[in-house]
Symmetry: C2
Subunit: 141 residues, 2 copies
């Protein structure tokens, strides 16, 4: 893709493939999700169901909002609540054959967007970093 | 800036001014910093000293790393530790008169970059969202 003009780049050229993406499962307790997020350092990650279909995304803020009680942090909620109870389900997606400009549009308001195939199976993520690197390459072509 | 070509745009055209940026102070306890981050929803915010000079940045991950004990979350550290003990100090900065492409380069690896004046006073932040919106405007010009 080094020599491709922006118009010739498609989402699958820039995406991080699913095997390299940290994710959590629908039924995981919040404690597990928070550990994955803290250990990886990521702000948010995709949520998959057991058959590897995309069902949503979850981040640190929504988990912390759950345990932020009136007096102080109510830590025991972490083991009693599950990812599916708090995850975001209304998330944008892309398909691998969409154009660069379609990816750019969706990343304006989202740090990453999940890529799925025609049967809703999770195939990877497109990140703002990948888009910015392609823009920089194009700027200096 | 609607009609400006990317080459004519400078950092101050796109930045969020300091009065609209959530930030914390050097001496704040970690508990205060975590509340600001959770209430605002931001992943990380700038850290300023009492004279409004930029001294670093702090995010949710580094605070959570501090309270993640061997057995479980050690919440009492939140009130005994201060921002200055855990914040990142090696952060990139920009000045308001730098060009669009200088901002683009620094945002490839950082979700936002702080903007300072010649005396190191904090004047605002440049975000990836602002860069992506400018790229989209330019794409359709
Ligand atoms: N371990 C690491 N090594 C190097 N740089 C790191 C890093 N963790 C974060 N960064 C940098 O910080 C940016 C923001 O990360 P954040 O976790 O908030 O937001 C991330 C995260 O929520 C998600 N993400 C990225 N890579 C991921 C992966 N392999 N698995 C799961 N989620 C990922 O996509 C968002 C945007 O990623 P993007 O690369 O554009 O932007 C990343 C990247 O530039
Ligand atoms: N309250 C809100 N309303 C609407 N959209 C929201 C939002 N909070 C977050 N977003 C969206 O999510 C992106 C990532 O936010 P994050 O908090 O991880 O990362 C943010 C945050 O750490 C920091 N940031 C942005 N605006 C800020 C502000 N006013 N004060 C302090 N920090 C800010 O800059 C990073 C990149 O911001 P950017 O706008 O490029 O990208 C934002 C924006 O597109």
């Amino acid at each position: 893709i080094e020599d491709k003009a922006l118009d010739d780049i498609v989402v699958s050229d820039l995406m991080i493939p699913s095997e390299k993406v940290a994710h959590v499962q629908l039924k995981n307790p919040l404690e597990h999700a928070l550990l994955v997020l803290v250990k990886s350092g990521y702000s948010a990650v995709p949520v998959l169901d057991p058959s590897y279909k995309l069902v949503g995304a979850i981040g640190k803020t929504v988990i912390l909002n759950q345990i932020l009680g009136i007096e102080q942090f109510e830590i025991d909620k972490l083991s009693t609540m599950r990812v599916e109870e708090v995850m975001h389900t209304d998330i944008p997606t892309l398909s691998g054959d969409e154009r660069f400009v379609d990816g750019l549009k969706k990343l304006i308001n989202h740090p990453f967007v999940c890529v799925t195939d025609e049967n809703d199976y999770f195939t990877g993520i497109l990140t703002r970093r990948a888009i910015l690197k392609a823009v920089q390459r194009d700027y200096f072509r």
